[in-house]
Subunit: 239 residues, 2 copies
């Protein structure tokens, strides 16, 4: 936690907030803060700054909050992921949030196991918690939006074309001839398949919706590694 | 497992090998292989190809092995990491192996907790197992070398200068003025600090040994995310 992210419900006054639970624990055991210390804070979807510890008890810390710095620039990327297996989903959400990805679509694909959709990590509370961990790691306040689409065909036919409008649209597809581009100066949309990849039918549907198939080289990467590799490759100027 | 990595001890003849344990389990439950099927295999530090299943029992699978393809090109990178916390070490080793990093140095730093060095993940067997998982993910056979240096100063003063010779040497240091370069056409060495970063003293010592301090932008990334971001940024032509 390089920054404590403060939510509306944490504020007891316009410039005072209470920390409890995980963030209080971190304040005490890792930062070893005491009254008078300053820690980095940010208001969700707002500015960043610092919080001065006014009061520290077993159950809460009261902070005097001073905000002023803007959050880092978001990546101009729409990331469309075949639903990863649950333990990878959790890490991938944290990674996306820490990299500055703000628009995440979790979609179905033939090789996504049905059971993946049952995971508690998809609850609103758990999504927010994992995205918060990523934002707190990288010092950002802008909460990514996660969209869940459990049917491939209606998503690709009815929603995707509009979503890709005005963007450089790509699907990562091992074995295709064109390498993934670098240094984009435009918004992009990137589709990443499940373990084992999108099927040929799915790639064709994504191409019909406007995506170009590109490869990342001979190596097959797990989604949690492919995301930072692709983001860094597409937008190295933004990082 | 996109390729089964075969070790010398797996071979019962020059072109026949036995799979047991984790790889046998994968063959049966994920690949659902049967006699006559072909699976992708590679010989550690050797060529890649396929294995035809000759015989499949509860305890082993016998493969007729045909090799011929070379492994993907290694990254010309020496990666010097402050020892990560154990659960991150495990994932970071897998990530490094899957990205094609072949030369990994785990070093001490002021902010590395002493207890990290006690982890069983540093045993030779566990290092090999985690590197194998990364190679099997990305279809590679060249086993990375891991060097362990538990004293910072002797490593930086006595070994590092020779290690950096002929390489572009960098230390990732948030807050410095120069951004990390892209598209290197030369071998590189990259130092990545612990959570909380290298101390000013340590950065000075690394600079004295020949490293240039560079930053990755305003975001602070975990080591397991920083590695793919940096590798992709430095060597996008090689991926």
């Amino acid at each position: 936690m390089n920054l404590a992210l403060l939510f509306d419900e944490d504020f007891v006054d316009s410039d005072r907030a209470l920390l409890r639970g995980r963030r209080l624990e971190h304040l005490k055991t890792v930062l070893k803060s005491a009254t008078g210390h300053r820690i980095a804070v940010g208001r969700v979807n707002g500015a960043m700054g610092y919080g001065e510890v006014l009061r520290l008890t077993d159950t809460e810390a009261e902070l005097q909050v001073t905000l002023g710095q803007p959050a880092p620039t978001p990546l101009p990327l729409t990331l469309i992921l075949a639903m990863p297996r649950p333990k990878m989903l959790r890490r991938t959400l944290q990674t996306c949030a820490s990299l500055g990805v703000k628009d995440i679509w979790l979609i179905n694909s033939y090789k996504v196991e049905k059971s993946f959709w049952q995971t508690p990590w998809l609850s609103e509370e758990n999504l927010r918690e994992n995205l918060t961990l990523g934002l707190e790691q990288s010092k950002d306040t802008l909460m990514p939006k996660v969209h869940i689409r459990k049917l491939f065909k209606p998503f690709v036919e009815d929603e995707l074309p509009a979503l890709l409008s005005g963007k450089r649209a790509l699907v990562a597809h091992p074995g295709t001839a064109i390498p993934c581009p670098t240094h984009l100066n435009e918004p992009a949309a990137l589709c990443i398949g499940p373990e084992g990849g999108f099927t040929d039918y799915e790639v064709r549907k994504l191409e019909e919706a406007g995506c170009q198939s590109v490869h990342l080289g001979p190596r097959i990467l797990r989604v949690e590694t492919a995301v930072p590799v692709l983001v860094s490759r597409l937008f190295d100027a933004c990082l």
